[in-house]
Symmetry: C2
Subunit: 167 residues, 2 copies
DNA sequence: GAGTATTTGTTGACGCGTCATACATCATGA
DNA sequence: TCATGATGTATGACGCGTCAACAAATACTC
């Protein structure tokens, strides 16, 4: 006989699943509607915009975002086709390559950030009381810790950072 | 000037995102490893296994799982090719079609359920205290309610239900 | 009953992520 | 220096989900 979930546990699991589904889908849909970007696009642009010279090695970028190399390579290819980023050779290591934020990409993330943050507010953050927000943070960090990670993730509003030298 | 997130809010958002990413990916990976099923597979099989005669109209199934008709049609096509479900005509309405759980599908969900529940326990439920579980439920249901839904979702452990007549 | 609108379901194209594979380049050590 | 392995990246196949377009049947309306 298996160790089934109690009613309370099942209720928690369902609420969790439905919440994440709705929040993620809605925030993603609004980001796409308002800025023509997907969440992965946003994450890449946002992370690049924080880097000096708006460029990073693929591996470094993948590590920071916790993506697989393959995923990033595929995604960069698509973003490159849309002109949001470009690839550049690395002189120190001929295997390596940089991903560079283009002017189009820079404009895109600057334009997208305010609406995106607002979207996150409306569909999650502002729905919760201070206590609930704290509880969500505690729960999230506890679960993340279970997977042996500290909680480094991409910046939500990096376009807010002070102007970065574009060289 | 946009209404940026505070540090606390940003921390909550990051913890939330990372938690859902890790939990969902891990539970999905384990389900696939242990039972050769994806989460969508599980959801379909699980929901069908609750139905009388193990069959449901496509629309009805889609509604219950909150899927688009297109998504369900695509997914049923794939599952059909693997022998997990089959389609059957509907005599009352010639447009309509049933999705029927096959014996293979029934065996699959029965075999998958215990490990899947265990996986959900290990990577989420059992990590949390009773208070945290209650908080997660409250937060989840509040957010779901914001989207104008009551929280009906698929059953996690339907294979546990009392024997269903297979006709 | 004819014409129109709605419901039911399918299909194709495309973005996305994973896995397995391939391949060039670098680093190591005999 | 020359193999051997590790590293950095790219690619193809495939499952998955969305959107838009479509076909067929049923339901409404005059």
């Amino acid at each position: 006989m298996a160790n089934w979930l109690t009613d309370d546990e099942q209720r928690a699991w369902r609420a969790y699943r439905r919440m994440t589904l709705l929040v993620d889908a809605t925030v993603a849909r609004e980001l796409n509607r308002d800025a023509g970007l997907s969440m992965p696009d946003y994450q890449v642009l946002s992370t690049l915009s924080e880097a000096v010279d708006h460029r990073r090695r693929l591996t470094e970028l993948a590590l920071r975002m916790q993506w697989s190399a393959s995923r990033l390579s595929h995604h960069v290819t698509r973003m490159e086709q849309r002109g949001l980023v470009s690839r550049a050779d690395c002189s120190e290591d001929l295997r390596a390559a940089y991903v560079v934020l283009t002017d189009v990409g820079w404009d895109a993330i600057k334009a997208a950030a305010p609406d995106h943050v607002e979207s996150v507010r409306v569909h999650l953050i502002d729905l919760l009381s201070a206590e609930e927000l704290a509880a969500l943070t505690a729960i999230g960090e506890k679960v993340v810790a279970h997977f042996g990670e500290e909680c480094l993730d991409y910046p939500v509003q990096s376009a807010n950072r002070k102007p970065v030298s574009r060289s």
